[in-house]
Assembly symmetry: none
Homo-oligomer: 226 residues x 2
DNA sequence: CAAAGACGGAAACAATTTGGCAACAACTGC
DNA sequence: GCAGTTGTTGCCAAATTGTTTCCGTCTTTG
């Protein structure tokens, strides 16, 4: 299912490691388990998994300490800490040292899976990114757009433009901002009318009758999607 | 501490609401509680809090359903769901419908605070720009203005002008300052009366009856908003 | 205190800026 | 070279902004 997404776990309890392996593999993730932090760094150098599950209470080097070290060395891999339910002080430190979420032991399969998926989504992995506003829906991964459940064929520019607006609904976007955001660099001799025309074309595609008034011109500033 | 960050909660259990209020206010957040989803949308239109805590099991409209509706309408406010520990199916839906985190009841103060802070950090709080003075409110992002809760249609120049005054209430702003601040460059042959006329037009828009006397002319100097 | 001059208020008019849109041109990838 | 996409230009309409004028009010000063 989640094509080739790799998750590793560091946990000194072999039973829990097996449990993690079972559930995560069932969900389609590639899984590698470690009983200690040893060899993990070497593994990270070679494999770059998408997520790391770390027990707070490891023998020898503490889990949070290990993550701190990895962060220092520049690894930004998202981390879910496993922590005993009664150790709430750990929890705070877990967030503070750069960990991204935590799960208390004993954990349920479902809770873990939800947090794994949420964290992966947050870090932009295997995203099924969909954004919507009013009756407009955009699938960023597939680059498809729907208006009122009808698929709309948009060009690349139109899609970027619409995405920019749907990401910031009800906000007046200045022409300079749009130029930076949609047209990126191309600095010199950028004609003002370029934006007007692009908006005009987009309007005609997503609202041929002109009855829905998605775009409101903000005079002297830019446009606002309403 | 967290200066003026506003958090609202929707929870039908008054005791829990009080608990939330106590803890969140102790941490320095401005808090508003709701016993149902009624009135919440109206509140959101006016206040735009930084975070919303929503019980999944509300009487009438379900919490997740409500959040879905708000998202459809373009509200991107981060949400923490409160959910009973045994209802894990809810939990999954919570993430799916756009919620950003969840906390299981009964929750500990610390867990809640950690998640609140993490979510606020993740959503980059402090970007919503709203300024107000007397019964005037300006939303800089939306470029909308309200007087006495009534939306007022302002031109770009008028908006910049009003923003300048609302940012410095009770201060006499010199004409030179206004020229620099509102009219930027355009140095040469700037007629004095230009400012007069601009102020005059602005006055007529935000106070048609002329009863509120927002602007006090400071003879030979400029204007003061009072 | 009164008159003159300076300044602000309001309305009308003029100039400028801006957006919509259509048509044409340039570009791109195949 | 063709079809699709994107940028440019020009015309029109509308909104905004600047200028002028006249008048009333305030300040100053003799």
């Amino acid at each position: 299912m989640e094509d080739g997404i790799e998750i590793i776990a560091i946990e000194d309890d072999q039973d829990i490691l097996n449990l993690l392996e079972y559930h995560l593999q069932k969900e389609g993730y590639a899984f590698t388990g470690f009983l200690s932090t040893k060899n993990v760094e070497q593994f990270l150098e070679e494999e770059s998994p998408a997520l790391m599950i770390v027990d707070r209470n490891l023998p020898g080097l503490e889990g949070s300490e290990f993550v701190s070290q990895m962060r220092q060395k520049g690894y930004t891999i998202p981390v879910i800490f496993l922590t005993a339910r009664d150790k709430e002080k750990d929890l705070v430190e877990g967030f503070e040292c750069g960990g991204d979420d935590y799960v208390t032991k004993p954990f349920s399969n479902k809770e873990l899976m939800v947090r794994v998926k949420a964290l992966l989504a947050r870090s932009g992995v295997g995203m099924v990114q969909k954004i919507r506003f009013r009756d407009i829906k955009l699938d960023l991964a597939k680059r498809e757009a729907w208006v009122d459940k009808e698929p709309i064929d948009l060009t690349n520019l139109e899609f970027k433009l619409l995405q920019t607006f749907v990401s910031k609904p009800n906000v007046a976007l200045e022409r300079d901002f749009l130029r930076d955001e949609v047209w990126k660099d191309e600095s010199i001799d950028f004609h003002d009318k370029t934006i007007n025309v692009a908006i005009s074309r987009l309007k005609k595609k997503i609202d041929p009758d002109g009855t829905k008034n998605y775009f409101l011109p903000v005079w002297g500033v830019g446009y606002k999607m309403i």
